[in-house]
Amino acid sequence: MQDFEYMMARSLDETVSLLAQEPDGVQLLSGGTDLLVQLREGRRIARLVVDIKSIPELNELTCDPVAGLRLGAAVPCRRICQHPVVTAMYPGLIDAFALIGGVQIQGRASVGGNLCNASPAADAIPALIVHHATCCVLGVAGQREIPVEQFCVAPGQTALRRGELLVSLHIPPPGSGFGAHYLRFIPRNEMDIAVTGAAASVMLDPAGGAILSARVALGAVAPTPLFVAKAGDYLKDKAATKEAIAESARIARAAARPITDMRGTAAQRRHLAGVLTRRALEKAIERARV
Amino acid sequence: MPVVWIPALLRDLTGGTDQVTVPGATVRQVIEQIEKRFPGMQERLCDGDRLRPSIVVVVDGAVSRQRMRQVLADTSEVHFLPTIGGG
């Protein structure tokens, strides 16, 4: 393992000023399930590892039907998945958060970390996209908000500017008629990175049951998690029919720009993008109806 | 007399014959007998006076640990096979 110094940050100000002084070679540690592996393999270089998981703002977890969900960047998945209100209000998010590694990873890995790691295959990100999540980031210049679909800019790269850090995520309240679902394809049933992932959300007209709005996002079929606006827009003001869902899935499939690597082939991923989008939409609609 | 099964890849020396019955109380004697009848056989099976490391001799269904010194019964059946490992 490469050599580095370690410090525990107590406050946001402390961290921000530290990052402002010398952002290079500083790595922020929360759950460490990605960072420590990457440091060990030399895929990231650290001179100083700053442990931010004790900063109060990063551990915020508040959820109510009016304000929605505010999620500190360092909150581990397991804590979220065990939160009765969150699990009841956002089953579509829990679908994804519950898949970020096995139990041993769940206890440490944070949703914020999953986002900042900016893997094209990250499970949390498509789900956050279809839930209209926004990222609250802080730097010396102050605070700003970034829609989650704009947060990842390239494999391993985020929209964070030098010296900025992700503080929290905000997910608006679902509201009645909302339903969402995330699912992924992996060769085994655990211990794998998504070959392809798909998230979908719909807002149904409580009266007629027509689709008022919908969102579709894909994982592992592009350099970043992919928000396929067209696939959702197509469903606007349409009845939730087999045909409409199939067409939306076809649009998502067409939007996929996958590569072949050791985890899957381009053809397989493109195909799965369509299949998983359809399945995600069907489940989202089912959830929206109850 | 022991029956010796000629390995497929040695049948070029026996003109295709796949079994020979030869006198011999040990594997070594049997090989010497075959060599008399089919010159070149000994060199293919042996490295000096030892069986090649890549070959095992199977006598009456069992891999012999005595190899060249393996004692044969009058009814013995002798096979020369590639070495086999186990996990």
Partner: protein, 173 residues
């Protein structure tokens, strides 16, 4: 080399102090500094569960925790599972059900299973399989391991022929 750091922690109900480098994993310090070699290294990558320990009540891979992170925290390793009175029911069940062959993954499985039963005393077979899916075993095919955990959970040993369908990963396509 970076300055060594003095860490105070509670390990298996005992106060422990040790010096470590920031880059040392909890796994390395447990094994090489503290002599607690019951925690095994299988991959140092968070993929096998052989190094599982319970950190402040949470099951973790000790290869993915820096030793410096456990300051003022409490750790339970396989050496802390049995009580002075005797073996933990899980340890007894692993023996009774011959849920081990080579035994190198066994500490991780027992620690993981304890963490499961601590928060869900009566898991179903799918729940047990889901929970243990971060622990790899190459010898047993998991059959007897799952049975051992179910036995401690008070779930009757499932009749094999009525127990084919494995638990599905809920999110999996």
């Amino acid at each position: 080399m970076s300055r060594r750091v003095l860490i105070h922690a509670r390990i298996n109900e005992e106060d422990v102090e040790f010096l470590c480098e920031p880059r040392q994993s909890l796994l390395e310090v447990l094994r090489e500094t503290l002599g607690l070699t019951g925690t095994k290294e299988g991959c140092s990558n968070g993929n096998c569960g052989a190094c599982n320990v319970i950190l402040d009540g949470v099951l973790v891979n000790s290869c993915l925790v820096l030793a410096v992170e456990i300051e003022n925290k409490s750790v339970t390793t396989i050496e802390g599972i049995a009580s002075p009175a005797g073996l933990h029911p899980l340890q007894q069940a692993f023996l009774a059900h011959t849920a081990l062959q080579c035994g190198v993954c066994t500490p991780g499985f027992i620690v993981a299973a304890k963490a499961l039963l601590d928060h869900n005393p009566h898991p179903t077979e799918p729940e047990v399989r889901r929970w243990l899916s971060g622990n790899l075993c190459r010898c047993t095919g998991y059959d007897k391991i799952v049975r051992a955990v179910l036995a401690v959970a008070g779930v009757p040993r499932p009749d094999i022929s009525e127990s084919h369908a494995p638990a599905r990963d809920q999110g999996a396509a």
